[in-house]
């Protein structure tokens, strides 16, 4: 498989997964805002922080609390954040930016994916750029953000049911699961940071509403209830990081990504042939042999920070091992992490 094609396929999956996760976060926050007395306050800002784009947001809309007109009221802050995360093409992680980039990559590898997959991505893009989209995002945000989630589900479904289980499929899964692991850890990090800034206070405060919202944002509320019952922060952390069965849990994602990565080169489980495999398997085993007590003892934020650094390392390893055989080609010097 051509390195360029593999890179595009990997990024198509990442961008679509990213768009889906942004839509999830926004949707849940909107619902929480309806319940929360007195609005969301700093919650809107935490949404931006979850994408890792707080600095870019501040540059564009000003800092909160500094009297920026754009953020003067809760509603203004909400609108600014929603625009930034959804339609702002100057923001590389907005839903529109992600879908545009996924489509651009798909155009470059037309013929590798089934025709339906390309068509669907094309329609997804056209749905987002239509004037109607902006109206729907304001008037019926829940429907709008749900439709983005559905579009991502459909894309994944088309690929799962049309793509041969070869390298292309494995690169897609690799991209999808690494991105999902990253997104889940970010969501957890940000929510946790707001709820419990001091790691010593774990378990002392349970804001049921926000923890429930967190589970909803990863479509994990029902699965969590069946597995753990009562919503306790450490159980939520356990579920979202260390669960082996929930498909958006970090460990689950890493197991899937590892399986695909090793299939690409035919490396047996438990060994490695390149930097990407070495880093991913090492990261996966760190999680596989951890308990939630280890995580909380280390400090959740610190732990998630290391996890994200580890995921970045895996991404760079994949770039070096598969996409840039003799250094960057000048064509795509690695897309955005």
């Amino acid at each position: 498989m051509l390195s360029r094609v593999a890179e595009s396929v990997y990024w198509i999956a990442r961008y679509i997964e990213r768009a889906e996760n942004v839509a999830r976060c926004v949707d849940v926050s909107l619902q929480v805002a309806l319940d929360a007395p007195g609005g969301m306050g700093g919650q809107w800002h935490s949404l931006v922080a979850a994408t890792g784009d707080a600095a870019r947001f501040a540059e564009r809309y000003g800092e909160e609390g500094t009297g920026s007109d754009l953020l003067s009221t809760d509603v203004a802050a909400r609108d600014a954040v929603l625009h930034f995360l959804t339609f702002d093409t100057t923001s590389p992680n907005s839903i529109l930016s992600c879908v545009t980039k996924a489509r651009e990559n798909a155009r470059q590898v037309r013929g590798v994916l089934a025709m339906e997959a390309w068509e669907h991505l094309n329609r997804f893009y056209h749905m987002l750029v239509s004037p109607d989209a902006r109206r729907r995002a304001v008037e019926s945000p829940h429907d709008f953000y749900s439709s983005i989630r559905s579009a991502s589900y459909l894309f994944e479904g088309i690929l799962e049911s049309t793509l041969s289980r070869g390298e292309e499929w494995n690169f897609l899964r690799l991209g999808r699961y690494l991105e999902r692991a990253d997104q889940t850890s970010r969501i957890l990090d940000v929510k946790y940071f707001i709820l419990l800034p001091d790691p010593g206070q774990v378990g002392s405060v349970v804001d049921d509403l926000l923890w429930t919202a967190l589970l909803h944002s990863v479509s994990g509320h029902e699965m969590f209830r069946r597995r753990h019952g009562r919503i306790l922060p450490e159980k939520v952390v356990d579920f979202l990081v260390l669960d082996r069965e929930f498909p958006r849990a970090v460990l689950f994602c890493l197991l899937q990504a590892e399986e695909s990565l090793l299939s690409i080169s035919g490396t047996p489980m438990g060994s490695f042939r390149n930097t990407a495999e070495k880093r991913l398997s090492r990261l996966r085993s760190t999680l596989a042999y951890s308990t939630v007590e280890d995580i909380i003892g280390r400090g959740l934020h610190e732990y998630l920070d290391e996890l994200q650094t580890g995921l970045n390392g895996v991404g760079m390893g994949i770039f070096e091992s598969f996409f840039a055989l003799d250094g960057p080609t000048g064509n795509q010097q690695g897309q955005q992490q």
Binding site: M1, L2, S3, R4, V5, A6, R103, E104, R107, Q108, R110, G111, M115, W118, E119, E167, F171, I264, S265, F322, F323, L325, D326, T329, G330, N331
Partner: protein, 485 residues
Amino acid sequence: MRLDAYDPGGFYDELFAAAGQPRPGASLLVENLKALPEGELAMRQQAAEKALFDLGITFNVYNSQAGLERIFPFDVLPRIIEAAEWDLIERGLRQRIQALNLFLSDVYHEQRIVRDGIIPGELIRSATGYRKECRGLNPPWGVWCHITGSDLVKDADGKLYVLEDNLRCPSGVSYMIGNRQVMKRAFPQIFGAINPRPVEDYPSRLLDMLQFLGPRGDQAPVVAVLTPGTQNSAYFEHSFLAQQMGVELVTGSDLVMRDGWLNMRTTRGFKRVDVLYRRIDDDFLDPLTFRSDSMLGVPGLMEAYRAGRVAIANAPGTGVADDKVIYAYVPQIIKYYLGEEIILPNVDTYMCWVPEQQKYVLEHMAELVIKTANDSGGYGVLIGPHATSAVLAEWALRIKDNPRNFIAQRTLSLSRSPVMIDGQAEGRHVDLRPFALYGRDIHIMPGGLTRVALKKGSLVVNSSQGGGSKDTWVLPANPLTGGGL
């Protein structure tokens, strides 16, 4: 559908000899079409357009917003070519391609045709498509023009002419295949009754031909299609052909020379490429040999090509024969190399570099079609009868300024064919681009792309200029063997 009411007017029509009187080869088609219920044809036209869109048979429009794609307008009424006429086309094209290939080989070796005084050497050297870097090249099996898409037109009397030969990177073959797929879906019964000769085996034949060029002989050669990228207007075709052949679609940045061999960057390391079907111009192939600012090609490719380590289709340098001044010499070229008279004639061409001919051209501009020697795609064409006097005057100055770069041709009254316009059949001008493959031997695909000038009265059929296309049905050698309804 009121085909009875269709009037071919004063033009040569491909389907009708006169109003209500189909040509013999078209009678079965017309009969079948007339049997369709009212409104059915318009419905099938819409269904066919939808199918083309779903198949993703689209082209990019230059200068339009990135990613904008349109379907190439498609007309549901097929064009019919009878067996005897096709036989003439096939023989004529085979003759031309064989002679032009010998010409290319000669141009880049001894230039006997110049020494023998048939063509002035200056005309060859000044042709934009001439590449001095290709002197002495020996492409595998002596074949230069592997894929050809000559443009044929018919005049008012029904006589066929070759308008140009297109020996570089002719495009449109994906529409030929797409149109056929769509027509088989839209009219299975009519198609079965008439049983046109197949064209959908083109990708297999293309792959066979490309693999035949492989320099290694014993192993299955690795073929790749080289595209300039997604912004190219024919990008869909590049990806379509690569996909249909099951080979990689590569861009310049996927390729690298290693120890003198061409390689592509894959997830399992470097992989040798033996045959490159390139869809980029000579100029961009290799910055070390041609344009040094090219980012689309591979530095060092030509050296490997020269050494026989990689095959390139079409061979670099074929553009010299696409020069419209060289085209004017094709009858002599055929005579010189094959000792034969030309079967499919050229359109009479005046070369402005010859003073007497230039004088004639300048005096008769308003009757002639004037073309620059090196443009394609419908650019650089002046249709005298349709031009204002200001434009004529401007072109006259350009001709006097650089006579080598201009030719003029008699304005043909291009043949027409009925086209569905708002549910009614109306006559529109057409041309025909059949595709030929030259490997072990020369194969002409029976059919090709019939392009239609959709604008009423327009003579320009190019997709970039508002043209559309229709399927081309070449009747079986013995129509009685066709399947019944």
